[in-house]
Amino acid sequence: MKRFVSAGVRDLGRLALLLLLVAASGMSQFAWADDDGGLNSAKFSPEAAAIFNRRCTACHTYGRGIKVGPDLKGVTERRKRDWLLKFISSSSSVIKSADPTAVALFTQFKQQRMPDWTDLSEKQINDILDFVAVGGPDIKPADERNADLATPADIENGRQLFTGQTHFKYGAQPCSSCHTVHGLSSGGSLGPDLTQTYFRYQDRALTQFLRHPCFQWNNSDSSAPYLTTRESFAVKAFLRQASVLHAAGNANTVQQPNSAEIRTTPIKAAQAALSSRADARKGPAR
């Protein structure tokens, strides 16, 4: 009986741990924004994020206290949506109408009022408010995740996007039309070999690079979307995998690695291989 009870307690403990892990993974997924409608991801308009960064951050912080104007964290809970719409569109008219909240803010912030953003449509303002409501600037685009965190599925998705087996959402052509990585038989040779790209540029620079097309992509509209953040992350993950496998001297698995290989590919072994090559280049110690 005692054994049975202790086993039950142990199971309950495991269950609690599992729930905690699920909750934690849910939270970590929420912190990355995906723009291709993926599940378990916070959604916001990239345009709203851009407007927020361009127009709001000069005077407001998000969760870091007062700057010139009030902290915007929780503003959508503190104020009603209608009031926010009116105030953002034309704070001067709301203050003139002797609205008590607007007047109080005006007095509190040294009689400096917010510019009238009359050029923003109601939809744009609503999108900005949605952006703030879901977590605002705390949310990072999915492609900013470090490729170390990629799952085997992400890497496989990246391989399929790279080789054209899966199509890019916005019609970008597969990387293998012009590029190859070591061990990939169907890669092109117009552009450079991308095997070492991940180690050469590292995660952050590669993220920035993948946000822009390699060549003049759309002549008529420079703001046309290129890759979704999820696609960008998957391609980055595949390139990282190619670099790691190449450094570890295991290029053949780039063609179609199985998930076990992906999981067990030792990054330390790759780094060791790189450092041993560097040592070999330096020559014998004097």
Binding site: G164, H167, S177, S186, S189, L190, Q216, N219
Partner: protein, 239 residues
Amino acid sequence: MKTSFLFAAWPYIALSLFLAGILVRYLLDRRRIATVTAELSEVRELFSAGRLWLLLLLIGHAIDLLFPRVIFWWNSSPTRLYLLEGAGFAIGAAALAGWLRLMWRHLDRSNRSAITEISDTVFLSLLLIGILSGLLMAVLYRWSSSWGAMIIAPYVASLVRGNPAAGFALQMPFLVRLHIFASFSALAVLPLTRLASFAVVALDRSFALIGRPVSVTAHGAEAWFRKHNPASWLWPEED
């Protein structure tokens, strides 16, 4: 000369030279169109070597540039990609062999006009540059059907729209730029070659076809005006 000129202005200059050249050839030859038609068989015989392969190359390029989405779809399978690239290279190699036979025949017989002789030689040389650069591109820069549809097709589309995006061509390797330049140059030289006879005869027949209904209408209008001549109402005594 700026490189951008070669890819922004030269295509239009080449096309203008081609159209103007054909028109001038037509105006010069229309009085002796029967002779030109008689000469066609000789020209046909001269250019018969490798004609099929050159035509296939031309059609392949046209599909790649006009229907890039078809190419993207086709190339999405590695097997089909290898098949297309292999076939393209084989046709290119056959076209090169055809060119050699064509050049042999060209050197073998002399022509009455020095200008035509020189023009034919220049045209054939440009053709050789085009074929050789194309073959080298296929070897050195793999999957030219894919990147051609991706980069060169938008460039050609921009030329058609009248807003040339020379940047597409300028960022390509030298061989690709040479291939494009040689193609437009061949087009510019074409009216001076013996091949222009085909265009002259085609133009003459087109004008004859278009002219027939115009001539019928003009005759009808003339008869109507004679019948309803307002002068007969004004000066009836003169009838």
